[in-house]
Amino acid sequence: MIEISKVTKAYGEAVVVNDVSLSLPARGITSIIGPNGAGKSTLLSMVSRLMPMDRGRVMVDGLDVATTPGDVLARRLSILRQDNSVSSRLTVRDLVTFGRYPYSKGRPTVEDRGHVEQAIAYLGLEKLADRFLDELSGGQRQRAFVAMVLCQDTDYVLLDEPLNNLDMKHAVTMMKLLRRAVDELGKTVVLVLHDINFASCYSDHIVAMKDGKVVHQGAPDVLVRPDVLKDIYDLDIAVEEVGGRRIGIYYF
């Protein structure tokens, strides 16, 4: 379980995350949604210790992220940010192998190699495994980074807009894969998503943020309602039920 208590972050005068307290259940997909500038990515960065918080505390399975040694946390929690550009010249396999660094410190064992191949297969990157990252499209590179994070094999996986750059097919595949990781391997996945319909179809829990605060949270059928969405996005969104799932329609 991730316990966020009274976390605040400000850049100068602008308060980006304002006194947020939240508890994210273990085992399941939690999606964080909200308009641009709501503080979603900042919150995720603080939970994953990429960014220090001004005030407040985050505990992951009872470990305080601010004080727990980095390499201990790296075996519990992994994070992938939005834009990943790497100046090193690496193949996909090289990159995914870095996912085993917290365990093997740069000397991958046979077991680590197994994890690497498994993660590559999981994301359907077998054919690209020996290609260099700078030879790949944005979506392919994105999948390679997700493979690295999965290879890290942590209980908690935090992803900041993992569907960025992915076409429809790969976006659906990615969400199904995360769903499988939760159902079969008991992972806890926390995502920042922009597409409310992906959030609606795949999440167990949705957290909606606006202006640095959590404004709504709950199961998809509680969150994906016209009045709630209007409150979050300031936009009229019709909600239809398709195949038992609630789909927001906001294109016109």
């Binding site: 390499d71 100046s87 090193s88 690496l90 870095f98 917290p102 740069g106 994070v149």
Partner: protein
């Protein structure tokens, strides 16, 4: 495929480096060997130390800044070292250099240098500042500032003392300060020992701050230690031969190119060997064939400067 290329490339570079060292020691030797060998040997040892220091400091600096255009010299590190020397002469007089002896002076300068670069550059490199252009601009401004400040002080000091300084301010591989050799060697050895223990983190740090933290590297601590190592290495090379701005850039980028990988276990030795080849073979050719008519530093800076411009242009196109 990169892996299979690395070994032959390193072997070839190693052979070339050995060949250039042998050539430097023997070509055009007339006279008594018991004079030539120690005389050239000291020079060779100094060049090896300089090559090692510049290659390692540049590659590591590029690793922690995650880009291949910045080098310690471009960011004004050696200008800072020159400034420290000027300040010492300005306030204590050149006589202090003579009294304290070069080794004590060198140690004191390194300590001051590490302190100052720690203060100045740590916040720049700790990852808060994302913009490469801003970083470069700050570095260039630092460099100009340090140089002008030392320039001002040099104009105000006694002309005799200025001569002592001037001797240290032009990169020259003909007048190497060999009296510092032992201490410089000890410093490089110490840096290598610390660096060796951090070797496995280098590849991870090259992935960028966020990925490194995600993979459990104590980023700020690692960056700080590496910055200290880089500072010591820059002090060593600047003390021995003076400031060389673009040499590190040249060998580091050549090393990335010829090895085709980013693994530090390959890139670091390749960069060191390339630096040795450039310096030793270059100096040999200049001394024996052109009879000291040109300065090696001029040629190296010319080639390195061109590399710098090419890299900048390619980067902006991409």
């Amino acid at each position: 495929m990169a892996r299979s290329r690395a070994i032959p490339v390193l072997v070839l570079l190693g052979l070339l480096a050995v060949a250039s060292m042998v050539a430097f020691m023997t070509v055009g030797a007339r006279g008594r060997w018991d004079f030539i060998l120690p005389f050239r040997g000291a020079k060779l040892a100094a060049m090896l130390l300089v090559a090692y220091s510049i290659a390692v400091s540049t590659v590591l600096f590029q690793t922690i800044t995650n880009n291949r255009i910045l080098t310690p010299s471009i960011m004004g590190f050696d200008a800072l070292y020159m400034l420290i020397q000027t300040v010492v002469v300005f306030f204590f007089g050149a006589a202090q250099f003579a009294i304290a002896g070069p080794n004590i002076m060198f140690l004191a300068e390194v300590v001051v240098m590490v302190t100052f670069s720690g203060l100045l550059y740590r916040w720049l490199l700790s990852g808060e500042m994302r913009s490469l252009h801003l970083l470069m601009l700050v570095g260039i401004v630092f460099g100009v500032f340090f140089r002008s400040l030392s320039g001002l002080m040099q104009r105000m000091i006694d002309p005799n003392e200025f001569v002592t300084l001037q001797d240290r301010f032009f990169a020259s591989f003909n007048t190497i300060h060999t009296e510092l050799l032992l201490l410089a060697f000890a410093a490089v050895l110490a840096v290598t020992a610390v660096g060796w223990r951090l070797l496995h983190t280098f590849d991870v740090l090259a992935l960028g701050r966020e990925n490194a933290i995600n993979l459990g590297v104590a980023h700020k601590r690692a960056i700080t230690i590496i910055l200290v190592l880089v500072t010591i290495l820059v002090s060593v090379s600047t003390a021995l031969v003076g400031p060389v701005t673009f040499f590190g850039l040249l060998v580091a980028n050549l090393a990335y190119q010829v090895t085709g990988t980013s693994k530090h276990t390959v890139v670091l030795p390749a960069a060191i060997l390339l630096a040795v080849i450039c310096l030793v073979a270059g100096q040999m050719v200049l001394e024996r064939i052109f009879a000291f008519n040109t300065a090696l530093s001029v040629i190296i800076e010319f080639l390195g400067g061109i590399t710098f411009i090419v890299l900048l242009l390619r980067r902006s196109v991409r």
